[in-house]
């Protein structure tokens, strides 16, 4: 344990004042002192520093309720610094700009047809946005790029990707050079989990005793599958960024070839092949159903044959999702498991209910499960959130130095 001295707590004190203003929008110096537990002299000194650095402005006066002179009021400046959240996959790039105070300034999206287009697209969007804001580029403090793949948790660089187009390896370096700003990669599902924990089911579905669901696992079921793990309200990435990469796990599915030579099983595959979108399509085809009809559990015709196929297919779909949920549920025993991704968006409550039944058959004390409440911008929102956290960390470390 290292000693905590008063000198090095300067950054923590400035952070405390910043947070008080984030929570309350407008405050007097006296109110800041009271909220942070700082002395009025210390609080005032920090307010002056923050004004000097452009983070805080004087916004008018609040009438005194004791009949004395009115007190000057302060607020955070929205235009002091900005961050960028980026979500990118093989088809499109989405960019969200936010002020360091957390206000979303713009959202921009464009299709990308080849790898070469990614970096110029980001640069173009940033240039346009900053000229519209009439802000110099050095006010851009942090960029987080959400993409699929395993991200080294210390270097924030891509460590492993199943499909690695060239932009993935070059993008961060290019943007660092051209925009002169820290750039970090983060796993897309981790970012969706972060957004879910802050704004989605993690915030809206409390525990039975009313406490917040601080331990939350997001199970992402889309083209690819993975988990984002939130422990104690913070993203848990594991030692090398692999936590929650359930796609590789062996799964028991009828009709699949051996996943591994020498196995005695003839029904083993991986969770990715069982419940990734291609697996779902294969499952639907096996029952001669349209995949969307299967996931929605809704057939246009109601012939007995279709009905039986739909029941069998839907149960198998729910069983495979339960397999994906069982791992994180039994290993972490979180407050809440949230299902997200395209498969779950289509399946909705009906699918959720069936997954609950299948999970209850696997073992005792099944985890609480809910549907995602974040919508299609979860990854983008998560990257913006993480960029905000990192930017604020850097801003206040800089102040301490």
């Amino acid at each position: 344990m290292t000693a905590v001295t008063f000198d090095s707590s300067g950054a923590a004190l400035a952070r405390a004042v910043f947070n008080a203003l984030l929570d309350h929008a407008t405050l007097t110096r006296a109110a800041i002192a009271e909220l942070t537990g700082l002395s009025r002299v210390t609080a005032s000194g920090i307010v002056d520093q923050l004004i000097h650095r452009g983070f805080v402005t004087h916004v008018g006066a609040l009438a005194s309720n004791t009949g004395g002179p009115s007190a000057r009021a302060y607020a955070l400046s929205d235009d002091s610094a900005y961050v960028l959240g980026i979500a990118v996959d093989g088809y499109r790039i989405a960019i969200m700009t936010a002020s360091v105070t957390g206000h979303i300034v713009s959202r921009h999206e464009e299709p990308i047809d080849d790898d070469e287009a990614v970096s110029p697209a980001v640069e173009r969007a940033v240039t346009n946005e900053f000229s519209k804001l009439n802000a110099p580029l050095d006010k851009l403090k942090y960029i987080v790029i959400g993409a699929s793949g395993v991200i080294d948790p210390t270097a924030h660089e891509l460590a492993f990707a199943v499909n690695s187009p060239s932009w993935k390896s070059n993008l961060a370096a290019q943007l660092r050079r051209s925009l002169r700003c820290p750039v970090a990669f983060e796993n897309d599902v981790n970012l969706a989990a972060l957004a879910e924990s802050r704004f989605g089911a993690g915030a809206n579905v409390p525990n039975a005793d009313g406490s917040r669901a601080d331990d939350m696992v997001l199970v992402w079921l889309d083209e690819g599958i993975a988990c984002g793990v939130i422990l104690g309200g913070r993203l848990y990435r594991g030692a090398a960024g692999w936590a929650g990469e359930i796609a590789f796990l062996p799964a028991h599915v009828d009709g699949w070839a051996d996943f591994e030579r020498g196995t005695q099983s003839s029904r083993t595959t991986t969770l990715q092949r069982a419940i990734g979108s291609r697996g779902v399509v294969a499952l639907a085809q096996g029952h001669e159903l349209d995949p969307d009809v299967l996931i929605r559990h809704a057939a246009a015709t109601s012939s007995g044959e279709t009905h039986d196929a739909l029941e069998a297919g839907f149960t198998e779909l729910a069983r495979r999702i339960a397999l994906a949920v069982a791992g994180p549920a039994f290993v972490f025993d979180p407050d809440l498991v949230v299902l997200a991704g395209r498969t779950v968006r289509l399946g909705g409550e009906r699918l959720l209910e069936r997954v609950r039944q299948e999970l209850a058959a696997i073992g005792p004390a099944p985890a609480r499960i809910a549907l995602s409440e974040t919508g299609p911008d979860a990854i983008l929102t998560g990257s913006m959130l993480l960029a905000l956290v990192r930017a604020r960390d850097e801003l206040f470390e800089e102040q301490a130095a």
Partner: protein, 386 residues
């Protein structure tokens, strides 16, 4: 001083000084100031605070030739005690230690009547304290290790495999009869703590301990702290649905679960079928000797054992991604590095994570050691809380 600053001075600084005194036999104020980075004034104030609370004391030192030596301080061993126990079928091993971690008493008792558990444990705690020469008022924490699932919200068993009658009230009974802080803790979690503090977990942030024995269990030590899960079920991975060989012989427990694949009863079925007998440890030892002579059946048996262990272990690799995953259990211990190598190969076929697999290093009463360590850490934590 502001409230913010005062909070540092009241709680954090004494804690920092306390931790230094834990690591050293005795220290002067100057040495404490140098080691902690606190000013000499702040360090002295914290020493006085600890002395005032009876947690530290000046110790006698030999005077040097050139005048009086600076006064040295040490922790007061008798300032507090903890008790820890390992409870198994028919047997309780209990130990008392002072707050500096020195063992003060140890006893073993038969444990036959589950209905008498609360009063038996109560008497054992008193006997242990008596042997240690400690007053019950100085008892700061009791940690009792047992199989089962303990709900961290209530402290009571949600699932007690050892003694079904413990359910719901045993912790409350002991807390009320001893009037001291008492917790039960899952035995695998405590073995994980022992491994984290005294074994492969030293200097590691995330460790997973996997016990493959009569049942399966994981202990998760993440960022140096035990994670029990919301309801105490974290690591109960015996229930995990996994692909099974076709056909397989079912043992007691959930069908198609990890338990059917890699528990000792499940491995026993394989061992008996392949002619290696019913003791899985002996079977693995025998097979390893035979495989050195290129015995094909032995090879097949070892590969099957490794493949089964790897299939369940890879879940922990891909879900938790620890730096080190420590394996323990009768057939794993018997198999040593030779079997571990086969398991590593089989894990690498499933999981691309760069995890280090290792066999448990703490062999001497790991559950009791983990319980003692947990009790000590919790007790020290409460000294400086609030």
């Amino acid at each position: 001083m502001t409230t913010f600053e005062a909070a540092f001075a009241r709680h954090l600084n004494p804690r920092v000084i306390y931790d230094q005194l834990l690591d050293h036999e005795s220290l002067t104020r100057d040495e404490l100031s140098t080691l902690t980075g606190l000013t000499r004034v702040a360090a002295s104030a914290s020493v006085e605070h600890l002395v005032g609370r009876g947690l530290a004391l000046p110790v006698e030192t030999a005077h040097g030739e050139g005048g009086p030596a600076a006064r040295r301080y040490a922790l007061t061993p008798t300032a507090g005690y903890v008790i820890a126990a390992q409870i198994t079928h028919g047997n309780v091993t209990m130990a008392a230690a002072d707050l500096t971690g020195v063992l003060a008493a140890k006893l073993e008792l038969p444990f036959e009547d589950p209905d008498d558990a609360a009063s038996m444990l109560h008497r054992a705690v008193l006997t242990c304290l008596d042997t240690a020469g400690a007053d019950i008022a100085r008892l700061r924490r009791v940690v009792l290790g047992s199989p089962g699932v303990i709900d961290p919200r209530t402290g009571e068993f949600a699932f007690a495999s050892l003694l079904p009658t413990w359910k719901h009230t045993i912790t409350a009974e002991l807390r009320s009869s001893l009037d001291r802080p008492v917790v039960f803790e899952n035995d695998v979690n405590l073995a994980a703590m022992a491994e984290a503090r005294f074994g492969h977990g030293q200097g590691v942030r995330h460790l997973v301990f996997a016990l493959l024995a009569d049942g399966l269990g994981l202990g998760l030590v993440i960022n140096g702290r035990l994670r029990r899960g919301r309801r105490g079920w974290a690591g109960e991975f015996g229930y995990l649905p996994v692909p099974m060989p076709v056909p397989y012989v079912e043992v007691d427990g959930m069908p198609n679960s990890a338990h059917q694949l890699a528990s000792v009863p499940a491995i026993r079925v394989v061992s008996e079928a392949m002619g290696f007998g019913s003791d899985t440890a002996v079977a693995v030892t025998t097979a390893l000797a035979a495989s050195a002579r290129n015995d094909a059946t032995a090879e097949a048996f070892l590969d099957e054992v490794a493949r089964r262990a790897a299939l369940v272990v890879s879940h922990a690799c891909l879900l938790v991604d620890p730096e080190v995953l420590v394996l323990d259990g009768p057939y794993l211990a018997a198999g040593g590095d030779a079997l571990l190598d086969r398991i590593c190969v089989a894990v690498a076929r499933i999981s691309p994570t760069p995890v280090r697999l290792a066999l448990a290093e703490v062999h001497d009463e790991p559950i009791l050691r983990g319980a003692l360590q947990t009790a000590l850490e919790d007790a020290r934590e409460t000294l400086f809380a609030g």
